[in-house]
Amino acid sequence: MNENTPMDEVRLAELLRELPPAPEAWLQAAQERPAIARAADQVLELAEADAEFRRTLIADLEDALRTAGHEPDPRLVETLRRRLPEG
């Protein structure tokens, strides 16, 4: 479709229907991404400063998160798994 192409209103309506909203829960989860990233930053900073915590984190991530006062949200766990160094 080019600029200024005439468009009848039936087609316009069809095209509006092409973009329904994504499920609200998906949207909210994606919108919380910065908060998850900040939580991951905090945990990694702590791991940087505390070798014992780092070892616990690598051995049992979810338990280490609880100990550090974070709910082991699956997105936080996934983010940390990606960012943690191996072993």
């Binding site: 479709m1 080019n2 600029e3 200024n4 192409t5 005439p6 468009m7 209103e9 316009l12 309506a13 095209l15 509006l16 229907r17 092409e18 973009l19 329904p20 909203p21 994504a22 499920p23 998906w26 949207l27 989860a29 994606a30 919108q31 991404r33 910065p34 908060a35 990233a37 997105r75 983010t79």
Partner: protein, 191 residues
């Protein structure tokens, strides 16, 4: 750019991107809101099931968040998101034996047709953003959210007959805005 009460409808994509890079949470929420339908529509165009579509949706926004700093042209955010989403959809299809990636055949042509419709729909959504909040809401509720005259009437405290005439009037305005827009939306590009 500040916070909570701002009318993001008047803010360009590039400005939203810059505000996201500056760490504004409100801008990130707007970016997700603004592109969520596009990402969802691309996943639907690839005929992903709901679970795979959700994974692609979340992975797309995770990558956008993590790689926004690498975007060279802030105005190119939409085609970048389009390409990223398509790539993730294709990866997902490849990983699922049940649903092979469309090849050069008819299926591929069908996918391309669906993607063209998505890109055309994005242009219509961009024209919609230029209308009044009232028109945006009523057209969105009726066409995109598939709400009935009665439901919309109850929500907006208006009689159904008024809803019908407003939809008609707003559709006319949308048509004018669409035909007078400054240019087509960039396509999402090939996978």
């Amino acid at each position: 750019m500040t916070g909570t009460a701002m009318d993001w409808a008047a803010v360009s994509d590039a400005e939203v991107v810059r505000a996201c890079r500056a760490g504004e949470d409100a801008a990130w929420r707007e970016l997700v809101e603004r592109f969520s339908r596009y990402v969802y529509a691309i996943a639907r165009a690839h005929r992903l099931d709901e679970s795979d579509a959700e994974d692609v949706f979340q992975e797309t926004f995770t990558r956008i968040y993590e790689h926004l700093g690498r975007l060279r042209d802030d105005d190119a955010i939409r085609p970048w998101i389009g390409q990223l989403t398509r790539r993730l959809c294709i990866d997902r299809l490849r990983a699922a034996v049940r649903d092979p990636v469309p090849d050069d055949s008819e299926e591929r042509g069908e996918l391309d047709r669906r993607m063209i419709a998505v890109d055309e729909a994005v242009s219509v959504q961009e024209a919609l953003r230029t209308l009044s909040a009232d028109c945006r809401e009523i057209l969105d509720r009726f066409f995109c959210r598939d709400q009935s005259y009665n439901t919309i009437g109850e929500l907006l405290d208006l009689p159904p007959g008024t809803i019908a005439s407003r939809i008609s009037r707003c559709l006319g305005k949308l048509r004018t805005a669409y035909e007078g827009r400054s240019g087509p939306a960039p396509a999402s590009g090939e996978a």
